[in-house]
């Protein structure tokens, strides 16, 4: 079974903190994604990566950065957390091409 593992299920951080969300996949997938999920808005793409050290901005990259130093790991960084970044964050991975993505269990981040 494909496994996409996110480092935390729940996180509470203070405004202004630097926050790291980690994601690891074990299927040698080329593509990795970070989405945020908010009620009524569905999933919105923050960043994706199609190869090591490569990254592409998604629809809502402001306030976020990413790092992909190894193929299996994709990190999302909130440079200075703000309350409007309180959300569910979902990591996913897939092979390149028209194949399905596999999702982690999500990290519910609350910024206070």
């Amino acid at each position: 079974d494909v496994k996409v593992t996110q480092s935390s299920r729940y996180l509470v951080k203070r405004t202004g903190e630097k926050v790291f969300l980690e994601c690891v996949q074990d299927m040698d997938h080329e593509n990795m994604f970070w989405y945020r999920q908010d009620p009524g808005l569905g999933l919105r793409l923050i960043y994706f990566s199609y190869d090591v050290k490569m990254k592409e901005k998604g629809d809502i990259p402001e306030g976020y950065s990413v790092s992909r130093e190894k193929k299996e790991r994709f990190s999302l960084i909130l440079e200075s957390a703000s309350t409007n970044q309180t959300s569910m964050y979902l990591c996913a991975s897939s092979f390149q091409g028209f194949t399905e993505a596999f999702f982690g269990q999500g990290t519910r981040l609350t910024v206070v």
Partner: protein, 111 residues
């Protein structure tokens, strides 16, 4: 821009009845369409996809979806709903190496 619409926020259906969750899309070029399901406090799980070929696609857990190019729709269906099908369902289109998701439809199957 590519987009996916799910016109119903909520669908209620009685157990044993057929269910339909609607999806329409807007995409330039050929559409590559997916359905995912999300159970409470979980990530999304893949149900089925349409890439090419037969317009009726069968997937996991007895779900199927019908691709209609003229109506730009990809509705999810199941002949007989189960209470355990209650979840949040997302339609998505694959474009430019990533997925564009609809806003989701909450399905409630009532015993």
């Amino acid at each position: 821009a590519q987009s996916v619409a799910q016109p119903e926020d909520q669908v209620n259906v009685a157990e044993g009845n057929p269910l339909t969750v609607k999806c329409t899309y807007s995409v330039s070029g050929n559409p590559y369409l997916f359905w995912y399901v999300q159970y409470p406090n979980r990530g999304l799980q893949f149900l089925l996809k349409y890439i090419t070929g037969d317009n009726l696609v069968k997937g996991s857990y007895g779900f199927e979806a019908e691709f209609n190019k003229s109506q730009t729709s990809f509705h999810l269906k199941k002949p007989s709903a189960l209470v355990s099908d209650s979840a949040l369902y997302f339609c998505a289109v694959y474009y430019g190496q990533n997925f564009v998701f609809g806003p989701g439809t909450r399905l409630s199957v009532l015993p």
